[in-house]
Amino acid sequence: MASDGVDIRTQGLSKTFGTIEALKNLNIEVKKGSTFGFLGPNGAGKTTTVRILSGLLKPSAGQASVCGYDVNKQRDEIKAITGLLPEAPGLYSKLSAVEFLEFIGALNDISGEVLKNRIDSLLGILGLEGRQNDLLESYSSGMKQKVLVASTILHEPQLVFLDEPTSRLDPAASALVKEMILAMAKETETTFFICTHMTDFAEDVCEIIGILNEGILTTLGTPKDIIKNVEASDLEEAYLKIVGGEVDRESLLSWRQ
């Protein structure tokens, strides 16, 4: 299937869980080598979208193609060329970072010297070289997240889905991941689809941002355009204006009466 320079294309993509409509009629296009940010409150449908696009979840309606492959029919092809960083870390606590990455490499049919060299390089870049043989059970949540980031890009995917990549990282590690995304997007034409709550991170990294609220894509555009359209000073203010949730200080203290 030809991708026409577009890595993700959805048409009327919807997902229902029983009576709950998690995603309603999503229509987006993400260009190859671009960085797409998906913003929205908790339960907006971001993770559901990622799971459908990465072939883990069946859509209830609509069409979607990822790197030219149909999400309904060619899931294994999609998985082979994409990487997924899930929202919560599902690491093997009794494996070391090296052993876990070997395991992930083997799942993606990479082994031998190529895998070993990649693991060493990635752990070095992420600042884990001194702890690479320690069991993951003793890692902090930030270190676990770094290992997961490494596992996501280990097989050099063409498209990477990142679900809250920096939520557990300290500022330095967050900046490192940010730079890594920008470098990979620019130098290797890797496409990134990033779900996040961090508006400043999205503003810095993403070329196009979609804001999802209650399963509906309410806004789509560059960070600058979004900020300009709602007359906000930055993306956080724009996000609050679009999604709601602007702070009223008086009501915040009403519980004390």
Binding site: G55, P86, G90, S93, K94, F103, D109, S111
Partner: protein
């Protein structure tokens, strides 16, 4: 000021009864009402009928070995009340909840007393159900008056309560020591299995060796156990309030066996209760000390792969070998998995031993009977318990782990294949330990040993296929309280049992009529392996499917 211990106790009760939700009060009342009816009417009636039915035998046993038997029975209750709360508490380390309580200025004494009170309803019910079964045969045979019976139950309850308090103190201390970490949780779960195994010994002892156990328990050395003081006090109560007119010489005979008089036993029971209470309150500040955090806990660094793992890598080259080795490491490094397998080995050895040493093995006059039944029992016991250890909790840690596996092409089916291969490798030493132990203890010959080893190993492999298939079909992760885990465990046991028994009669007939143990065992094992292959195939397919 609100009594904080009461708030904690109420919360513990809400947690314990959470599965009833809105019907909590009605269900609780119903259970208590049934327990009362059971304790006052049903259990005494059943035990009375039982005593009447085997009047001569039971009366003889009770007359001869009353003190020893009462000590055995009380030991079982004591171990149950002591061990089970520890075992359950260790399955869920709750340091996070302690932090909330401590940050809300709750005293550690309130925390200790509140958690103890919170456990009372469930373990109180356990005692309420068990007490009449344990006490009424003695009360019936000795025709103990109502006042005497009330005192017997009173002593039993006081012993049980002080033991529960003691158990609460121990479990709190262990939880604090282990801390809320991945490693601590793993060790705690492993310990919970080890302590649970302790309950088995007095239970099987009473089931199969009532006579010898009563004799052993009559020894003076058991006077150090608090359960013995309670048991002896109950015995004294039954003697003093008996309605069968025990002669002075009989009472004197009891005195020589019991060694301690009723006053000393009473003092010891009371002192144990008070001292335990004192120790608990005095040590509460130390008990609720939150220890290791993420930066301070023990860090385990892994070394180079050992010879065995390197061998597997070279035999199973490529990605599959890496997967198998990774999963062997992941499974083998978890203390809880090893503990569960140890428990399986322990039970698989214990049952044939009991069968032989309790005299059941001698009931059939055929030299083939003991090796045949031992092999079948060891195989079935190990396959059921091994199946749960390999399939249930040893399969996947979390849903997030599953997302990672499913995120790679054919990841789920590759994982299932590698998991099965790693478990089958792991099962070999398990089968070897179990079979060798049984062979050495029972003095079986080499041919029987080899036949048993092959059978037990094949049974374990069949169980691994079944359990892995069932868990892949309905992953339960590490949550042993989830309905998925309960269903999987039940299904695993039922399918393994049915598959093992499907051709068992035929297999036994071949062994007896043809005098051919290997052929009989082969006939026995085929359905288990066949069903296992089908179940794991279905499980693997289902796990690979995208979620709906």
């Amino acid at each position: 000021m609100a009594r904080k211990w009461l708030v904690i106790a109420k919360t513990e009760f809400l947690v314990a009864t959470s599965r009833f939700h809105s019907m909590r009060k009605a269900v609780s009342l119903l259970i208590v009402a049934f327990a009362m009816v059971w304790a006052l009417f049903i259990a005494p009636a059943i035990m009375s009928a039982f005593v009447d039915l085997f009047a001569a035998e039971i009366q003889m046993i009770l007359a001869v070995a009353f003190p020893g038997l009462m000590r055995s029975v009380m030991l079982l209750l004591w171990v149950l009340v002591l061990i089970y709360p520890i075992s359950f508490a260790l399955q869920e380390i709750r340091i996070g909840q302690w932090e909330i309580m401590l940050s809300n200025n709750v005293s550690t004494r309130d925390m200790l007393f509140g958690t103890f009170l919170g456990k009372l309803p469930s373990y109180g019910l356990l005692v309420l159900f068990m007490a009449p079964v344990l006490i009424s045969p003695f009360a019936i045979v000795y025709q103990v008056s109502l006042v005497g019976q009330a005192l017997m139950y009173g002593v039993l309850y006081i012993t049980a309560l002080s033991t529960l308090w003691f158990s609460n103190v121990i479990s709190t201390a262990i939880q604090a020591k282990l801390g809320e970490s991945s490693r601590g949780n793993d060790i705690a779960k492993a310990l919970s299995m080890v302590v649970a195994a302790i309950v088995i010994i007095p239970m099987y002892g009473i089931m199969y060796f009532a006579g010898p156990l009563a004799e052993i328990m009559g020894l003076d050395v058991f006077l150090v156990l608090p359960s013995t003081w309670g048991a002896d006090l109950i015995t004294w109560t039954a003697i003093y309030f008996n309605g069968i007119g025990l002669s002075q010489s009989t009472i004197l005979a009891f005195e020589s066996i019991l060694l301690f008089g009723p006053a000393l036993d009473f003092l010891l029971v009371a002192a144990f209760s008070i001292v335990m209470l004192g120790i608990g309150f005095a040590a509460s500040d130390r008990l609720f000390t939150i220890q290791a955090g993420a930066r301070t806990e023990v860090v385990t660094t892994v070394g180079r792969d050992n010879l065995f793992l390197r061998g597997i890598r070279s035999i199973l080259s490529g990605s599959f070998g890496v997967l198998v080795v990774s999963l062997l490491k992941d499974f083998g490094r978890k203390a809880q998995n090893l503990s569960r397998l140890g428990y399986g080995i322990f039970l698989s050895i214990l049952l044939p031993l009991i069968m032989n040493f309790s005299g059941l093995g001698a009931t059939v006059d055929d030299p083939l009977f003991v090796p045949m039944m031992t092999t079948l029992m060891t195989g079935m016991m190990l396959s059921m318990l091994g199946g749960i250890a390999f399939g249930g909790i040893g399969f996947l840690d979390s849903k997030d782990q599953l997302w990672i596996l499913k995120g790679s092409p054919n990841g789920a089916s590759k994982f299932v294949r590698a998991r099965v291969a790693s478990h089958i490798l792991f099962a070999l030493p398990i089968a070897l330990i179990s079979t060798t132990s049984v062979t050495v203890i029972l003095g079986l010959d080499v041919v029987v040993f080899l036949a048993m080893l092959v059978y037990v190993y094949a049974a374990l492999c069949g169980a691994i296929l079944i359990a892995t298939g069932i868990t892949a079909n309905n992953p339960a992760y590490e949550d042993i309280k989830s309905s998925a885990f309960m269903i999987n465990t039940g299904l695993t046991i039922v399918i393994i049992m049915l598959s093992s028994m499907f051709t068992m009669i035929w297999g036994i007939l071949i062994m007896i009529s043809e005098r051919n143990i290997p052929l009989g065992l082969l006939v026995n094992i085929v359905p288990l392996l066949l069903v296992g292959s089908i179940v794991v195939f279905i499980g693997s397919k289902r796990l690979s499917m995208p979620d709906n």
